[in-house]
């Protein structure tokens, strides 16, 4: 292997499988995804709703893991457990034809939780950290507490998941039916007919322009979210896109989940420093 290839492989390894850093962004994602999971399924699979022992068991698993994930107790296991529970709900939704369960927003939530389990997301803002601090205090020789630092390769996989999502949804929209605005108009007919936004249907040209814009933005985001120097415009654009989806269409938890996952795109050290700064700590991040 030539030196150039070796250097490239080393850079790829540092970017992906060996990526490490501050765990604060991952911890924030952990708390946010747990909240989204509870708000998505809590009302639908509460014990009072359950009709058979299998769902009761699944419900019990889900609530146990999602609570652990929220407070950060055995965080990695909790993330895996929550992700697998949501994935089982996704599959069960398809098998039993339960409306809204076998949807992309549920799949994205499940995969994000599972991938978050591949990060050291329990080393910040968690019971796990509190326990580690307590252990460290019992050892007098130790002056420093446990570092908010660890493996983050799952965070890179989340970034790839977002990129793939944008790319493949743009591929799906790259046809005459969507680019002419017809498919978007159909969506609006279902969503807006008889409602305040019905007037939008009187402007098919505007809908076609909107459709083309969405496709261009999705193709651009598929690449730009992986290039840090493009983040300055790509991240606000992506967040605006998801805010637009949330306001204009009944997307359930899709937009909220995608927006939370944008934390995976940021440099963990910068997130850490930013949190230090807004909390009035010094500029030196104490994980380094």
């Amino acid at each position: 292997m030539s030196n150039e290839m070796r250097r490239l492989a080393a850079r790829l390894d540092a970017w992906g499988p060996s990526f490490t850093g501050s765990t604060r962004a991952a911890a924030l994602m952990r708390i946010a995804l747990a909240t989204i999971a509870i708000s998505r399924f809590g009302g639908e699979i509460g014990f009072h709703q359950v009709e058979n022992p299998f769902v009761l068991l699944l419900s019990g698993m889900f609530f146990l893991f999602v609570a652990m994930m929220f407070i950060g107790y055995l965080s990695r296991l909790a993330c895996f457990g929550t992700g697998v529970s949501v994935l089982v709900l996704y599959i069960a939704g398809a098998v039993t034809q339960t409306p809204g369960w076998a949807h992309h927003h549920v799949y994205l939530l499940a995969i994000a939780c599972i991938l978050l389990g591949l990060t050291a997301c329990g080393r910040s803002y968690s019971i796990d950290r509190l326990r580690a601090l307590n252990v460290a205090q019992r050892v007098p020789a130790t002056h420093e507490g446990p570092r908010e630092y660890g493996a983050l390769w799952g965070q890179r996989l989340i970034a790839l998941q977002l990129s793939a999502m944008y790319f493949w949804t743009a591929i799906d929209k790259t046809d005459r039916a969507f680019l002419s605005g017809e498919r978007l108009e159909q969506t609006f007919v279902w969503t807006y007919s008889g409602r305040a936004l019905e007037f939008v249907l009187a402007y098919p040209g505007l809908i076609a322009a909107l459709a083309i814009m969405v496709v261009i933005v999705e193709y651009a985001l598929a690449v730009a979210i992986l290039v840090p120097r493009w983040h300055i415009w790509a991240l606000p654009l992506g967040l605006a896109l998801h805010a637009g989806f949330y306001l204009m269409l009944p997307v359930h938890t899709y937009s909220a989940t995608a927006m939370v996952l944008y934390l995976a795109l940021l440099d963990p050290a910068r997130v850490h420093n930013f949190i230090d700064r807004i909390q009035g700590h010094g500029r030196v991040a104490h994980h380094l």
Partner: protein, 173 residues
């Protein structure tokens, strides 16, 4: 990435110990999962092999499919006595806030027009009409498709009769 200081730059030599997994296993796992994430949607979206766990990112692609856009016309002989929107035909103020795919009145084939017009046919007398037709378009995955349907009430009656006879047969069984 060049020129920026990232947290990964600060830990040369420690990465192999993090995460509790040997380096090779982590690299292999990362590559495998990354390939799955990036390429699994191709199974359905390119090659037409659909599976629940090979998630296709085709969000909202089917919303609006089977929804008519146009007018239901109530006729008396050769004169139109009333023009109704699809929502008026169903006597709905708006399409329900349920998942689109569970909406029972979606028109996925010409036979489904009769079902959409069932209520209208039952009440055509109140408009002084004797037959119902539809002129407009129907939502499909390929965009709007022109649709022109006449004598919907006759089909609606046939459909109701077939449904009744089916129920009776099931009762005999």
């Amino acid at each position: 990435m060049r020129g920026e200081t990232t947290s990964a730059d600060d830990i040369d030599g420690t990465a192999s110990r993090l995460g509790g997994l040997p380096v090779l296993a982590r690299r292999f796992g990362f590559g495998l999962i990354a390939l799955f994430i990036l390429l699994a949607p191709a199974a359905g979206q390119v090659f037409g092999v659909h599976h629940l766990l090979l998630r296709e990112w085709v969000m909202y692609s089917g919303v609006g499919v089977g929804i008519p856009q146009g007018e239901f016309l109530i006729w008396r002989d050769d004169t139109v006595v009333a023009r109704l929107s699809p929502l008026d035909a169903l006597d709905l103020p708006a399409y329900p806030r349920v998942i689109h795919y569970t909406f029972e009145h979606r028109i996925l084939s010409n036979e489904d027009f009769a079902g959409f017009a069932t209520r209208l046919c039952a009440e055509r007398d109140t408009y002084g009409g004797d037959r119902v037709s539809f002129e407009g378009v129907i939502g499909t995955r390929e965009g709007w498709q022109a649709a022109s349907q006449d004598n919907l009430c006759e089909r609606s009656l046939r459909r109701a009769a077939a449904s009744r006879s089916g129920e009776e047969m099931r009762g005999v069984e």
